[in-house]
């Protein structure tokens, strides 16, 4: 085991101001074990009294080596790694990876599978925002919000479990379609959620949106200007709260998002409160998409029948020799992908989640790289916390909605 290094000011000389060296300002370590850094982020704070002069993020406490590990697996088997990147958006990670593989090997996805993918990713977006609104409330001392948000999150996890058998790490979306068709109870469960949820969002808004204590903590705090956001590559709700209307679901539609009628909530204030409002509004918009996708859900297969890339259904294996061979070949060797590199991105609850895949002609990717939204979003934190109090830093960090699994990979 590595030795525990004692922290000395010598290491941080180049990062902090002159005043810290003379002892005029104080250096404070926040994290990696801190309840409001949302994981294992470490921040080195330089404080003048209680005012933040400088904040230096230190990441890598959750570095998992996902990208390298994926190179050692075939395209199909590598998919399980991507669930565990951004663990609040597991279905979305699967989707982005599968879209990339499908683009690389030029695979079509049936209509039904696309609609189910949309339903599930939008439900996952709601679940992710629910955890966010719960922990955001918790950080700002609105404890009951956490309990309400997790109550609704269970409804979504039940739906995911219904489809895939797993609550979080579903790996339900597969290259070429889905693992299997949704069960018969699926539609009723989603409709039940659509019926319940709008009232619950109203409940959250009654609790928080006009709450004077909440407003005091948020209004004008952590202002992120349009220019800073764009220059740091900030995406997702944080960018849209700064007045930039950029949503990949509208800008570069995938999985048939162009067929759905929904709005992209945009605010111009750019402060913590605006980021909160954008996410609350996204609850309603996501629900709209879920409802539309469910209404038009076509019948038909959920997997491409291109047997060179997609395993045959279980029922065929017993009766068809060819299917058995395909099944065997696909799960032992995998399928070869052309020597090419592609980039494909989806809109995750935190922003642009992109995956870069490079094939070398074999069954394993030569290089996998993830462009994760939290990593870029985190880079603005030092810019926007300056001049605020330590107590506000907690709110700002929460409002950017970073996930450390997404940052460190």
């Amino acid at each position: 085991m590595a030795q525990i290094e004692e922290v000395s000011i010598e290491q941080y000389k180049h990062l902090v101001s002159e005043r810290a060296l003379t002892g005029e300002t104080m250096l404070l370590n926040m994290g990696p074990q801190h309840p409001s850094t949302h994981g294992v982020l470490r921040l080195l704070l330089e404080l003048d009294g209680e005012v933040i002069v400088n904040a230096i993020p230190d990441i890598g406490f959750l570095h998992t080596g996902v990208e390298k590990n994926m190179e050692a697996k075939t395209y199909q088997k590598a998919e399980v790694m991507c669930d565990r990147l951004d663990y609040m958006n597991t279905v979305g990670n699967n989707l982005s990876y599968c879209l990339a593989v499908e683009k690389l090997v030029d695979l079509d996805v049936p209509e039904r599978a696309q609609a189910i993918r949309v339903v599930l990713t939008e439900l996952q977006r709601i679940a992710s925002h629910l955890v966010w609104v719960g922990t955001f409330g918790l950080d700002l001392a609105a404890m009951s919000m956490f309990l309400y948000a997790f109550r609704e999150r269970e409804l979504i996890l039940d739906i995911l479990e219904l489809c895939s058998g797993q609550r979080m790490m579903t790996t339900y979306i597969r290259p070429g379609g889905l693992w299997r068709d949704v069960p018969v109870e699926f539609e009723a469960a989603v409709r039940n959620f659509i019926k319940i949820f709008p009232k619950r969002v109203d409940e959250y808004e009654n609790l928080l949106t006009k709450n004077p204590i909440f407003l005091d903590r948020l209004l004008g705090i952590g202002k992120l200007t349009k220019e800073t956001a764009l220059s740091h590559g900030v995406t997702g709700p944080s960018l849209r709260a700064s007045g930039v209307n950029w949503d990949l679901r509208k800008a570069r539609p995938y999985s048939g998002y162009e067929q759905y009628d929904f709005n992209v909530p945009v605010r111009t204030e750019g402060d913590t409160y605006a980021r909160y409002l954008v996410r609350i509004q996204e609850f309603r918009e996501s629900l709209k998409i879920v409802e539309q996708a469910l209404n038009k859900l076509p019948m038909g297969p959920v997997r491409s029948d291109n047997r060179k890339f997609v395993p045959p259904p279980r029922s065929e294996i017993g009766v068809s020799m060819e299917s058995l061979i395909h099944h065997f070949k696909l799960w032992t060797e995998g399928f070869p992908a052309p020597k090419a590199s592609i980039y494909s991105a989806v809109e995750s609850p935190r922003g642009e989640l992109g995956v870069y895949l490079e094939g070398d002609g074999g069954p394993k990717p030569y290089r996998v790289h993830w462009r994760t939204p939290s990593f870029d979003n985190l880079s603005v934190i030092p810019k926007i916390v300056k001049g605020h109090l330590v107590a506000d830093l907690v709110g700002i960090l929460a409002s950017i909605d970073i996930v450390l699994g997404d940052i460190d990979r």
Partner: protein
């Protein structure tokens, strides 16, 4: 009908000090508020409305290791996090227990690579392993109850030996 009368009817209860202390420990165990990765979300779910771990005397997550009895290692431990985890464990006062929650903390899980400790038992002594990726909240609660069983069977003289 006062409480005195009711108590009067119960007579005398005899037990050993050991049993009484161990019983008390199982009903007010404070876990450390310490989440690493995916499992931390399920740990939060176990604390939240549907599963409500406070039924077992665990509603109080302490952010400081110096106030906690139980460390739930919820998630994968990277090489950079390892020393931090060990220091947190060392800062906890005796007696203390550790649950390795999930496959990553138990054995490395799907991440058999350069970055992840293949099980948190390389760093700290683990009392209970909870399987699953991530384990369901029920599984975590079962793990906690298993710790309780262990605590109830503990002997003072074994603890004194360390």
């Amino acid at each position: 009908m006062g409480v005195e009368q009711k108590l009067g009817n119960m007579g005398v209860v005899t037990t050993s000090l050991e049993t009484a202390v161990n019983w008390a420990r199982t009903n007010a165990m404070w876990p450390m508020l310490f989440g690493l990765a995916c499992c931390a979300i399920e740990m939060m779910a176990a604390q939240a409305s549907d599963y409500d771990m406070s039924r077992f005397g665990m509603e109080l997550m302490r952010a400081s290791p110096r106030q906690s009895d139980l460390m739930i290692v919820a998630g994968r431990v990277s090489k950079k996090m390892g020393p931090v985890l060990r220091r947190l464990y060392d800062q906890m006062p005796e007696p203390k227990w550790v649950i390795a929650m999930g496959d990553c903390a138990s054995c490395g899980g799907v991440f058999n690579n350069y970055a992840i400790y293949q099980g948190v038992d390389e760093l700290v002594p683990v009392d209970v392993y909870v399987a699953g990726c991530p384990p369901r909240p029920e599984a975590l609660i079962h793990g906690v109850l298993t710790v309780y069983e262990k605590v109830k069977a503990e002997k003072f003289k074994d603890l004194a030996k360390g």
